[in-house]
Point group: C3
Chain length 303, copies 3
């Protein structure tokens, strides 16, 4: 199977992934952080868009599973046409890789790639489309923290407009029974939001009833040359930035990283014991090991 | 031994390489695509010129042989002087690598490097000079397809002027008894071509008598700032581009990649069952595994 | 333990490191250049500043120890703020690496990083601060050459102003009983040099009494946009460049590399049998293997 979208997974699949993740989390705590699970398997990380964090996480995941891992970083320019993407994937296919982990700047690129290869394709982020492994690691982090997902209340706050994380998480969280709401200024909420099936609020008071506040990264780098959707970062931070004062002591805060300290979240909140941010990163490595194992094994067993 | 030029190999050496390649081709079809052949050996891929495809192929070849593989990508600027290349190689030599796979933008750079190291040097392309591993993989792809090389008729078509593949393949193909001809517009045939010892045609009718049409990549990226040797790509494509209509059904087409769809070859020909393009890529990985093994083992045996 | 500064090591620690290095030097001479010492351990090479030579040396050192090695090259811009460095290290820490080898353009960055991780941090050069592994490999190269360190006389010559190597080596050499002097034009000697505790000479005659001349690299690339401290490279070379005529036959020359041939040292001196330059590179790989082993093992034993 591929992992192109959270929609590819049933709640039972996700449960299976998380049981596998528990095992791999334990591996990361050992002095010898390596298992022979994927020895002799070939994992190609094909990144058409820079992402040090996600690439490092997948590279470590593959190496700790003993796979042979090859990173390919493509400049956007040399592969900007759909046909070139097809040729790139067909070429990789000729090497008989077992897994292609792919990030691309265009929505649907990973799904297109999956048509041209017998390898398992794992979507590591496709444009403004989806980022299913982020959603899964966030779910796993929540499950580790609360012991359950069903019935949790989560508010996703901020730059929904330019966030593939928001999209994947809304659908993935709801699938697992989480009560999700979106919160942000109207200019950062995309048109057509009514089809997402979750309530939208334009006031931080909407955070009062939730267990977890999931703060989105302000996509500063995607604003170049366009009219920015917020008048100034200073004003955004003042009106929408999350600080310890905005939250109750029992509420937790999450963020997909990397954080803009002082913009969408204050440093003291990010560093506080109410923050799950580093817990998410740790969860991510375990979940990605589980995903690499799972896509190759139709009937997964605990590691 | 080094592999600097196809001239370094006798037909018997090439036969030996291809028997080794048969073994490694079989390895690529297994679930565990890895053999311990080069465990503990150090392979340095020293690329002074970008080449994702060739680098990936050599990196995978080394890793599947269990070598320790280190990639070094040098910007052309920091190593533009001959003395700097010497110092770079002497520094690498101090690490006692077993193999240095090297691509460089200057003709003869790999041969110079070989003077300063006890490692085996494999030429992965030196400027407009040679590209011996491309020639060997093309020969291997032909041998797999036709069961023989002696007596095959091949036309090499297009941008001969700026192609190191053309040069290596003309000499390597002839060495193995292939009947080679060059075909292209006069402006894309280099001066001194009469010394290559093969007939040159300026008309696509010269394709009628061959078994295989080997289409060269139009080197668009090497034309910057120079007067281009063809008036327009559109016209080039109309006059010299290969399409299914130009070929008989029993003729095969090859290309060193990456292809410019719609320029030197149409997409439907590249994707047809008459195309060996992906077969070449697959052959390349097996041949490169065989080469890495062969340069270290004076009396090679089957893997 | 971390390795942030040569000050972190006692002379006895350094002796221990060099005994370990002897063992690893022998490993590099074997056909199978690999030991299982760090199998399953994770080494992250976090380079915020380009350094092909140092990175390659650490990457090979880790791979020959069987560690899982991941390279991260950060552009200076994305991590220019102190807070970002903190977040980067905290994120890495969530992967539970065993060792972080770090190069950074700011003095003290490695020491700051060490506060946020349970991994061992190895300073691979921090701005104009320190470069302890360079100092250790230089000491090891001297010990291999002379059989002792105590009582040796070394002159460090040239661009002291912009050299972190000068700083680390003055302190490290003195710690091991070497008689050190600095030699160079006044414009290349930093203010406050009197606190370094070594004599400073502005005349190459000061080389007459030493065993070893350690030539610093002229930091051409750090001069951009600033008033250069020397009027011209041609004049610098004429007045301060080292050539075979400047040295007695029994004197040795060292250089941290990469050399600028014809600037601070002539090519014929660098290539002569009086040069330890490649001996230093070879020593460096063995010393770095020893360091990686040593920082993880509080009670090191011979490999």
């Amino acid at each position: 199977m591929h992992l192109l979208s959270v929609d590819d997974l049933s709640p039972a699949d996700i449960d299976t992934l998380f049981r596998l993740s528990d095992g791999f989390l334990e591996v990361a705590s050992r002095p010898i952080k390596k298992v022979p699970t994927l020895r002799g398997r070939t994992q190609i990380n094909m990144f058409f868009e820079a992402s040090t964090r996600t690439l490092t996480s997948f590279e470590l995941a593959g190496k700790r599973l003993s796979a042979d891992v090859v990173n390919i970083k493509a400049s956007g320019s040399s592969v900007s046409k759909g046909e070139s993407l097809k040729d790139t994937i067909l070429t990789l296919e000729s090497y008989r890789p077992d897994i292609i982990v792919m990030r691309h700047h265009q929505v649907g690129a990973c799904r297109m790639a999956a048509r041209y290869t017998t390898a398992r394709v794992v979507n590591a982020g496709d444009g403004a489309g989806e980022h299913p492994t982020q959603c899964l690691l966030d779910l796993y982090s929540l499950r580790r923290t609360y012991g359950r997902l069903e019935g949790l209340k989560v508010a996703i706050v901020g730059d929904v407009l330019r966030s593939r994380v928001a999209r994947s998480n809304v659908f993935g969280f709801r699938k697992m029974g989480i009560d999700v709401r979106l919160v942000g200024p109207p200019t950062l909420i995309p048109p057509g939001i009514e089809h997402w099936g979750v309530p939208v609020y334009h006031d931080l008071e909407a955070l009062d009833e939730v267990d977890v506040v999931y703060v989105l990264r302000m996509q500063l780098e995607r604003a170049k040359g366009k009219v920015p959707p917020v008048p100034s970062l200073r004003e955004y931070s003042r009106l929408w930035g999350l600080s310890p004062r905005r939250l109750r002591p029992d509420q937790r805060v999450m963020h997909p990283g990397p954080i803009n300290r002082g913009v969408e979240i204050t440093g003291d909140l990010a560093d506080s014991d109410r923050s799950l941010i580093l817990h998410q990163v740790e969860s991510g490595l375990a979940v990605r090991m589980a995903i690499l194992y799972h896509v190759l094994a139709p009937h997964p067993q605990a590691a």
